[in-house]
Each structure stands twice: as C-alpha cells, then as structure tokens.
Symmetry: C2
Subunit: 413 residues, 2 copies
C-alpha cells in the first residue's frame, strides 16, 4: 500500500447499510502482506443470483477462468477474494489453487463448489498457496456478519491509497432496496501487475439473466469508460450479487432487464458503478488530476468513445495535464490518431469551459492567463466538439506524473 492517500480521494466515505442476505468477514491470511487483512469472505443466502463481467485479456488469470465457468449456474453462495497474489500466469498450479480454494470455501459455507466465486489480486507469476485458506475460511464463515463493507474494501486493496465503497437506496415496486459496492483500483503492486476488482451486492430479487444484462449494460459507461494507462489486467473482475431478500418486504421479482419497474433501480445501480469507477480513476498511480474527456459532435457514440479513449490514453496529453498545460495541440494529435471521422477545420476544444481552439485553429479570443489558472484545478474537463454529427461520449482518466513512473519503474524487489 502506498503511504500517502491520493489528493483526489473523496472527502467523505458513505455509511454503508446492511444488505439482507449478505454477511462479510475479513482476515489476515499472510498471503503476502504483514499486519493487514488480505482475505475477504462474503457469504450469501441461498438463492442469490450472480452476474459477472471480466477482463477481455486473452491471457486471463485462473480465478477469472473459474468465475466464467461457474457463472453459467447463475447462483452464488460465497465470494472469496485475496490480495497479495493474483494467481495469474501460474499455469496448471493456478488452476489447482482455484479448485482447492473453492473446495475449502464450499466446505466452510456448506454449499456446492459451483456456487463459489473467486478473485485474486497482487503479484502475478507466483503460485498461490491455497492451503493458507484452510481453517481461515472456516473461521470466517462462522464469524461473518451483515456488515462492514469498508473493512471488506480495505482487505482487497493492493497499492490503492484509499478503500472504495459506494451505496444507493432506491424503490423497487413499493419496497426499498439497497445496492452496495466496493472496488479496488488499477493500482500496481510492486513488483507486478495488480488489477481492478469490484463487487456489488443488492437485496433486490433479480434473476441471473436479468442481472447479467444490467451489469453488461451498466459497465459500458462506467468501468469501461475509465482508463488509467491503457493497460489491461489479466484479472479484471466485476461481480454482482442479488440476494432477493427484499422480496420478503414486497419487492417484485424481476426476471427481465427490460422490466419497466426496474427503471429507478437501473439508474441507482449505474450510479454505484459510476461512483466506484470514478474512485478508481481518482486513485490512479501517481495521479494528481482527475480528467474527464467529453467528445461531442462525432458521427456515432462509438466513434466518440474511440476518440475520447485516444485522448485519455495519450501519454502526451496526460503529461501536459500533469504540467498544468492546456495543450490543445496534443488533443488535436490524439483526435487525429484515433482513425475516426474528424475534420480538422471543424474542431473545437475547451479546457474547464474555456475554449482554446475552434474551426481548426487557435481561438483568437482565449486568454492564456485565464487558462493557466484554470489548469491548476484538481479536476480537468476537456471537451472536444467535432461538428460532424450527434455522437457523444465521456471517459475518465488521470494525469501521467513522474510518480507514476517511479511507482511502476522501481527496481524489482
């Protein structure tokens, strides 16, 4: 863990309500770290629906392969997350580790192994000694309680500088339902790659297929619209669990994502995802600025996304922002290299509301001193107007600082 908290960390942490049907417990299993929790067990009541989205990496970690396979059953009884070792690129040993972890967890919780979901984050390429979970998971299953989500979020941290939680309460039918989420960031754990993990829990009674559809649609403008350095972990995992306990006080059972009664729920669910995703950007390694990039006037939303991502992943744009430089020339460069329809002579660019370029040239009216002052803010909004169509999209990133290089370029220990 980093010693100092990101200056972009949220100023307040929400009170996290209990979710009926979910119990949590954490422990120090000594996977890699000393004197901190590194295992989370979440135990869910019978009948809990599960959905998941994972890294698109062609070289996924063993736990990702495990979850993908078990997702077909649609039901979950427990989630086991460890930090310190990602169990990635560990060959056949990795598969044995996940199988053993699931076996231990299934015994501890009293369920089938196919109802166990797993995530690991930390060093990659080192075998994960799953025997360390023996005993630990049994104790955790016995002591699990309805809930300290903040403690859970802390147990899954690697180089995160703050725990990430979000919550929302919303009506489903006439019943109040709750959505709690936690995430760990795309931080690095020396000497190897860590990952983005996020887990969302709700007491809403939503069937697995509907939950999967909600999740898939929800990530599109949240987690998939955040980039730190353009690199993709082999372990990225987002799981959603719906215990259905709210049915007891009248929440309607939902079997289709298109059910109109879900409208408010979907909005709240997406807000939780968006909140967590933004916290990940706020905790990017070495980040000193949160950057929001909006592209409008593109041919399509997909085209706007590609251009926004090209800007967000450009080292030249990101270093300029670190230097508090409203360098629109580099934004033009990034628009141009995206390969999407763009007409230089129709391009307008603004930083924090100040237009610096329009119609393919520098805006003659812009005041350098005013822009320089605006660039000192911790949050920078770049808006690019292409003037071609109605496609619009927005992505979040952070700046690229010397600290990023220091964090990621330190000698292997």
């Amino acid at each position: 863990m980093s010693s100092s908290v990101s200056p972009l960390a949220p100023k307040t942490v929400p009170d996290m309500p209990v979710i009926a049907g979910v119990r949590l417990a954490t422990a120090e299993a000594g996977i890699r770290y000393k004197n901190r929790t590194d295992v989370l067990l979440a135990v869910m009541d019978k009948g809990t629906a599960v959905a998941g989205v994972f890294t698109k990496s062609k070289c996924p970690s063993a736990p990702v392969e495990w979850c993908r396979a078990k997702l077909k059953g649609g039901k979950a009884r427990a989630l086991v997350v460890n930090s310190g070792n990602a169990n990635a690129f560990t060959g056949k040993t990795g598969r044995s580790s996940t199988a053993l972890t699931a076996k231990i967890a299934a015994k501890a919780v009293g369920c089938s192994e196919s109802e166990i979901f797993l995530a690991s984050t930390g060093v990659i390429g080192e075998p994960l000694d799953a025997t360390k979970f023996d005993g630990v998971l049994g104790r955790l299953a016995e002591t699990a309680e309805p809930g300290d989500y903040l403690a859970a979020a802390k147990a899954i941290m690697t180089t995160d500088t703050f725990p990430k939680v979000a919550t929302a309460t919303v009506k489903l039918g006439k019943a109040k339902v709750t959505i709690n989420g936690m995430a760990k960031g795309a931080g690095m754990i020396a000497p190897d790659m860590a990952t983005m993990l996020s887990f969302v829990f709700t007491d809403a009674p939503i069937a697995p297929a509907a939950l999967q559809a909600l999740l898939k649609s929800g990530v599109e403008d949240t987690f998939n619209a955040v980039t730190i350095d353009g690199d993709t972990s082999t372990s990225d995992t987002l799981l959603a669990f719906a215990t259905g306990a709210a049915a007891e006080h009248g929440a309607p059972k939902i079997s289709r994502a298109s059910d109109p009664r879900l409208k408010a729920f979907v909005k709240a669910f997406n807000q939780v995802l968006a909140n967590l995703a933004e916290q990940v950007a706020r905790d990017g390694e070495g980040a000193r600025k949160l950057v929001e990039i909006t592209v409008e006037g593109a041919k399509t939303k997909a085209s706007a996304r590609k251009i926004a991502m090209s800007i967000a992943n450009s080292p030249l744009v990101k270093t300029a922002i670190a230097g508090e430089d409203a360098n629109w020339g580099r934004v033009v460069m990034a628009v141009g290299k995206a390969g999407e329809p763009a007409d230089r002579d129709k391009l307008s660019i603004s930083f924090n509301g100040i237009r610096v370029a329009r119609s393919g040239a520098r805006d003659p009216d812009y005041d350098e001193a005013q822009v320089s002052e605006a660039m000192k803010a911790p949050e920078i909004a770049i808006k690019v107007s292409l003037g071609l169509g109605k496609g619009r999209d927005r992505v979040m990133t952070c700046d690229l600082t010397k600290e990023y290089v220091a964090i990621n370029g330190d000698y292997r220990s």
Copy 2:
C-alpha cells in the same frame, strides 16, 4: 534542443557522400529558434522522381496536405523544410502559408510550384509567417552545394539530441548508386508536438511509381515498426527523391519496383530506412534504453505486429524496463490485451536471451541475479514466443522514464 545527447546515440557518424543531382543549403530564418539553422533547402535536378508516405492522422498539417496533392505529379525540384513551427492546426492561414512558401521556393529555384515539396516541424497551432522565407530561399538556391547532409540534418532538428543521417552505396546494374537519408525524431518541442520527418535521396534512376512502391514497402518494417509513446504526429512525413543522375554512368532506368535488377538496391534502401528509424528510437524523449521486441510463433505476421506494438506501447512494460526490471508479468498483460490469438499456457518470454517464463508460468530454471544483471544493458531485447504458428515480427521502442514526463509535462512557456 535538449542540452545533453542521448546515451543511446550512435558512437560514430558516417561520412555522407555527395549525390549527383542534389544540392543542399541551410540558413537561420529565425522562425522560432535563435542562433541556429532552421531552414533547409534541397534543390534537385530536373527529372527527379519523388515518392512519399505521410501520417495517417485524420488531422494532418497543411504541409502534409500540400505534399499529398503534389505527389501526383511524381516530379520534384525542391524540398523546403523548416523547424520551429509545424504549421499544423492553423486553419486557412496554414494553407496560405504553404502556398506562399511554395511560390517563393518555385521562384528561387526556377520551377513550377507543383514541383516543390514542403515539411514543417515544431510548435503547432501558431501561424507560420512564410514571408520570412522571402529572400532566404533565393539566397539558399544560389548557394546550395552538393552537400553537407549532416548540416541539413541539424537544421531540421527540434528536441532531437543528435542529428540523424545514414548512407549506403550499392550496385544498380553495373553502376554504383548512392542512397543518403536524414531524419529527425519523434521528439517534443516545448510546448507543443513535433514530428518525425525523414528525407532520402538517391541518384538511382527510378520512376515515381516504382519509387513509391519501394517506399511504401520499405517503411513497413522500419519507420512503421518504431514507436516512442504510441502517439502520432499530425506532420509525419517521409519523402524519397531519385535524381536519376546515375543513368549517366550506366545505371539502368527502373520503371517497376519488381524489377529483379533492383534487388540489392532495395536491400540497401531498406537498411537506410531501418538505420534512420532506429536512430529515432534511440533519441526518444528521455530514453535510456533501446528496446527491441520480437514476437514469434504468432498466427500471422500482422498478429505478431499487433502484439509487439501492444508490448512496445505499454506504459507498464516501458516503466519496468526503465527500472531495469525483467517484469514478464507485464509482458503477459500486454500480450493479453492485444486481442490477438494467444494461449497463455504456450507462452514463453525472454529478456536479452534469458528465458524467464515458459508454458504459462515462471521458468523454474531462471536465475534472478543473472536477469537483473542483463537488464542493466542499454539495449534490451524482449522475445515472446506464442507457440501458435509461424507469424513473426519485430518492433523497436525505448523505455519510459521520469525524464519523458519532465520533458513533456513542463509548464507551457
């Protein structure tokens, strides 16, 4: 210009022979810099063939648009290059500047404006005052001489830390022909983006269409296989000029790129391009390590290229190399995110000949101390074997250092 020369600069500079039909001159036009040359005029004899490849940016600079249009004629009499101002994203003013520059140059050389080729590098978004060329180009045309290629390479530098030239002499038929090239790197010129420019001259009598085919094929494994930070300039330009003067001492006139008599020439031509491209990588901003990435065993060469570029552009891989860390986990990550066919369990990775991972896991035989020692070298070769097919490719890049961030993140002046 940077004050200290890159530690990766070539130890020796070749003697650059004269090329019949090409005369060069440089001057201090005061475009932006003080006390250094910033304009190059190359005057070519009548009948010189020209070919060019340019940035794929959708927002190209005015000079790129000019050259693309004039290339259709296939003939060149002069090349004008200025450093200090890229004349990019300057709207209609930019087009007027290129037209005026061409007009002044055509008058100075005594040719049609359609035989003038232009390139500009430096600040973008600032109008280029082409009237500064008035008088200057006339004097240069009068004083141009067969050749100081090193002086020419110096005049086109921006943040390059050393001038880049390469030469080759080869037989075409029974005649000796010469190929000279110069380049400037993908360096940055504070506060804005600079660009990659390269110009190649030969006395071989090669028709425009054949020269274009040679150039297009030649860049594929040279300039297109080099990346500094994945960003693409709006001004990247590579032009080749063939004066045909060697026909006078018996070189055969070549009209097709597939002509078997070209074999040795093509090899030498590609070597010049490869040499210049490598020098660009050696002068990447803040670079302390030259990195060669070879991917073999891919399904196809194109697939190998995509994977190699994914590794070469990964900030996590590049910072690890800066930290002298043989971090194969990050290489796995970059292979996985490329989206190309890859099987984790067949992957092998080596650094400078030492295999660190095989069959989807850490190589049990590798010696950490030996690898750490190897990573101290200024040149790092990463080899990835996918074990899937016969596709193979190789790209060059450099490491990502704190100096890169410092160079590109300094406050706008």
